[in-house]
C-alpha cells in the first residue's frame, strides 16, 4: 500500500485503517532449477516473499538447495524457470554487480592482499564514491563492527571472529537493500557462534537492512529469524515464524528437523490410524495419577544431562523420548505412565 492509497482511505471516511501489510522486498515466484539435462531438480516450485527490514532464514539440510537459492538472489546462479523480483524490479537479467544486494560468503572471501580498510572500501570504490565519502563510510562501518583499531591489518592477521566481522562490514558498507549471509557462522567455534548470533541480530535491528541467512543449524535459525523457510530436497516444506514452525510443523520432515519430536502413530492413542501426532519431548511428563496417563511404556534408559534428564521409554513398538526437569529417579525396566497437556499434541497431515 502506498501513501496515496492510505490518504484515499482516510478521506473516504474509513476510520479503522487496516494495518499496512509488510511490503515484499524480494519476491521469488515459481523458481525452478534443473541440472544435468532434466535429471537433477535442485529446486522446484519455490514461492517466497521476503519483507523489508526482515531477518529471513533459509533453513535445511545440506544439499536442499538453500545456497543455490541464495546465490540466485545475488546473481551468481540463474533459475531454469521462474522469476525473482527485487524491490518491484525483475533482476534476473542483471549481473551481480548491478544488484543492490551484498553477500557475506561462507569462508568470508576477504581479499588477502588488501588491508581491512581497503577490503571495506572496495565496494565503494567500485561505485565511484568520492575519497572523502569512502573514508567516512569505512570509519562508520568499522565502528559498527567494533574493529576501529584493526583497520590497517591484513585478513591473515585476524582471528576467525574478526574476519567474520570484516566480511560483514565490507558487505554492509555500500548500503545494500539486502544482505545475504551464506552459513556465516559455520566456521566459528560454539561460544563465538553464540556471540555472533546475538551480534548479527543486533546489527540487523540497528541497520534496518533485510538479512537473508542460509543455515543448516535449526537452533540458529529459530534464535535469529523473524520468519524462516524450511527446505528439503529442493522444495519449501514450511514457511512461517519460528513459533509457528516449532509448534505447528507442517509435516513429518519439519517436525523431525526442527528440534526433537516424538512422532506417535494415532492408533497407539486410540485415534484415527492415518494421523501421526507430534509431541515435543519437553512437554511430556510422568503421570502421578493413573487417570491422567495417556500412554504406558517401559523405561529403557535415563540419561542425566545436568539441567534435564532424558528418558527413553518404549511404548507400543516405538521409543518415546521425554525431557524432564532435574534429576529423575527411575529404574530402567519399570513401567511408566506418560501424560502431556492437550495443546502439546500436533496432528501431522502427512
Amino acid at each position: 500500500m502506498n501513501v496515496a492509497d492510505a490518504v484515499m482511505l482516510s478521506v473516504s471516511g474509513d476510520r479503522t485503517l487496516p494495518e499496512p501489510a509488510p511490503k515484499p522486498l524480494i519476491e521469488i515466484s515459481d523458481v525452478e532449477k534443473i541440472f544435468g539435462g532434466g535429471e537433477i531438480r535442485a529446486l522446484s516450485d519455490i514461492n517466497i516473499a521476503i519483507n523489508e527490514c526482515e531477518f529471513f532464514t533459509l533453513l535445511g539440510p545440506s544439499g536442499c538447495g538453500k545456497t543455490t537459492l541464495l546465490r540466485m538472489i545475488a546473481g551468481f546462479e540463474h533459475p531454469s524457470s521462474g522469476n525473482i523480483m527485487l524491490a518491484g524490479k525483475d533482476v534476473l537479467s542483471l549481473p551481480p554487480r548491478a544488484r543492490s544486494v551484498n553477500m557475506v560468503f561462507q569462508n568470508y572471501a576477504l581479499f588477502p592482499h588488501l588491508s581491512v580498510a581497503q577490503n571495506i572500501a572496495f565496494g565503494l570504490e567500485m561505485l565511484n564514491w568520492s575519497k572523502f565519502e569512502i573514508s567516512e563510510r569505512v570509519a562508520e562501518v568499522l565502528a559498527l563492527v567494533r574493529l576501529e583499531s584493526f583497520r590497517s591489518r591484513k585478513p591473515a592477521q585476524l582471528s576467525g571472529g574478526q574476519q567474520q566481522r570484516v566480511a560483514l562490514a565490507r558487505a554492509l558498507a555500500p548500503r545494500p537493500q539486502v544482505l545475504l549471509l551464506d552459513e556465516p557462522l559455520s566456521a566459528l567455534d560454539l561460544k563465538l557462534r553464540k556471540e555472533m548470533q546475538f551480534e548479527l541480530k543486533q546489527l540487523q535491528r540497528e541497520t534496518g537492512v533485510t538479512f537473508v541467512l542460509v543455515t543448516h543449524d535449526q537452533e540458529e535459525a529459530l534464535a535469529m529469524s523473524d520468519r524462516l523457510v524450511v527446505m528439503s530436497a529442493g522444495r519449501v516444506q514450511q514457511l512461517g515464524t519460528p513459533q509457528e514452525i516449532y509448534g505447528k510443523p507442517a509435516n513429518r520432515f519439519v517436525a523431525d528437523f526442527i528440534g526433537e519430536a516424538n512422532l506417535i502413530p494415532g492408533g497407539l492413542l486410540g485415534r484415527r490410524r492415518d494421523v501421526t501426532l507430534s509431541i515435543r519431548p519437553e512437554r511430556i511428563e510422568i503421570a502421578t495419577v493413573s487417570s491422567f496417563v495417556k500412554l504406558y511404556g517401559v523405561l529403557k534408559a535415563a540419561t542425566f544431562l545436568g539441567a534435564d534428564t532424558l528418558m527413553e521409554i518404549e511404548a507400543g513398538g516405538i521409543v518415546v523420548r521425554a525431557r524432564l526437569r532435574g534429576a529423575q529417579m527411575a529404574a530402567p525396566g519399570s513401567e511408566i505412565g506418560l501424560c502431556w497437556p492437550d495443546d502439546a499434541e500436533w496432528e501431522l497431515r502427512e
Binding site: F111, F122, K154
Partner: protein, 280 residues
C-alpha cells in the same frame, strides 16, 4: 627397551647408501665441472691449483659476451611475450566457459612439453625457411616464445586453481566490473604464479640448445650454441667457467620458483600467522 616404530622407508637397511649413490651419480659430473672451472691448468683433466683466470678470460672474450647478450635479450623478450600469452591462456582455461574444444586447446598449448624437442626444432626451421623469414634475433624470440608458453602457463594455472573463485565472486558482488576485478583482485592474487611462470620461461629459454641451434643464424648465436661451438675445438676450462655461470643462474632461479610456488607463499607474505595474534 625398543619402542615400536611404524614402517618408514628411511629406516630400511641400505636406503641411505642407495640415496647417496643416486645423488652422487646425478651431481658428480656437475661438481667436477664446477671444480675444474677453478683449475689453473690449461688441460681440463689435470689439477694444478686454484685460479679465477678462466672466468676473467670468459668474461673478457668478446664472442662469449656477444653470445651471452643475445641469450639474455632473447630470453627476456621471449619471457615477456610468453608470460603475456600464458596469462591469457591460463585465465581462459581456468576462468572461461567450458567452451567446445577446450581440452584440445590445452593440448595444443602443451605440445612443446610432450613432443621431442628435435621435432619442434626441425619444424620451426622448416617453417621459417618456407616463409623465407630471416630476421635474425626475432626468429629466435618467436621460436622461444612458442615453447616457453607452457612453462609459463603451468604455475599460473595451478595458482588460479588453488586460489579459487571466491574472492573474484566477492568483488563481482561488490559492484566490480570484470576489468577492474582483473586488475585489483585476480592479477595481484595470481602474481606469485606469474612470477614463477616468467622465471621458468626465462630459464628454459636461456638453457635451450636444440631449437636455438637450428634457428639461430649468423650474428644471433646464443650462449649454449656458442659453447657447443667452443667444444668442437676441444674442451677448454673457459667452457667450464661459462657453464658454471649458467648453472648458477639457472639453479638460483629454480630455487626462487620453488619458494614462490609453495602453497603458503601468499599467506606468509600477507603477514604473521593468525595464531600469533590474540583472538577477540
Amino acid at each position: 627397551m625398543r619402542k615400536f616404530r611404524p614402517f618408514d622407508w628411511r629406516h630400511n637397511p641400505g636406503f641411505g647408501t642407495f640415496t647417496a649413490l643416486t645423488i652422487l651419480f646425478l651431481y658428480a659430473p656437475l661438481v667436477v665441472l664446477v671444480v675444474y672451472a677453478f683449475n689453473a691448468n690449461r688441460l681440463v683433466t689435470i689439477w694444478s691449483g686454484f685460479s679465477l683466470k678462466w672466468f676473467v678470460q670468459a668474461v673478457n672474450d668478446g664472442n662469449i659476451r656477444l653470445a651471452a647478450e643475445t641469450s639474455l635479450i632473447v630470453a627476456g623478450c621471449a619471457t615477456v611475450c610468453a608470460t603475456t600469452f600464458a596469462i591469457a591462456a591460463a585465465l581462459a582455461f581456468e576462468r572461461g566457459w567450458n567452451f567446445l574444444g577446450r581440452g584440445i586447446a590445452v593440448g595444443v598449448v602443451m605440445i612443446p612439453l610432450v613432443v621431442p624437442e628435435i621435432v619442434v626444432a626441425v619444424t620451426t626451421l622448416i617453417f621459417f625457411s618456407m616463409l623465407d623469414m630471416r630476421i635474425g634475433m626475432l626468429n629466435l624470440v618467436i621460436a622461444h616464445t612458442v615453447f616457453c608458453i607452457p612453462f609459463a602457463m603451468l604455475p599460473m594455472q595451478g595458482r588460479l586453481r588453488s586460489m579459487g573463485t571466491a574472492c573474484e565472486d566477492a568483488a563481482r558482488d561488490l559492484y566490480g566490473s570484470e576489468w577492474r576485478i582483473f586488475r585489483r583482485i585476480t592479477l595481484p592474487l595470481m602474481a606469485p604464479g606469474i612470477v614463477a611462470g616468467a622465471i621458468l620461461a626465462f630459464v628454459s629459454s636461456l638453457d635451450d640448445f636444440l631449437i636455438s641451434f637450428m634457428v639461430s643464424g649468423a650474428g644471433s648465436t646464443t650462449l649454449p650454441v656458442y659453447v657447443y661451438g667452443m667444444m668442437r675445438q676441444g674442451v677448454t676450462p673457459e667452457v667450464n667457467a661459462v657453464s658454471t655461470i649458467l648453472l648458477l643462474i639457472s639453479a638460483g632461479l629454480a630455487v626462487l620458483v620453488f619458494l614462490l610456488s609453495r602453497p603458503s607463499a601468499v599467506s606468509r607474505t600477507a603477514g604473521a600467522p593468525a595464531s600469533a595474534v590474540p583472538s577477540s
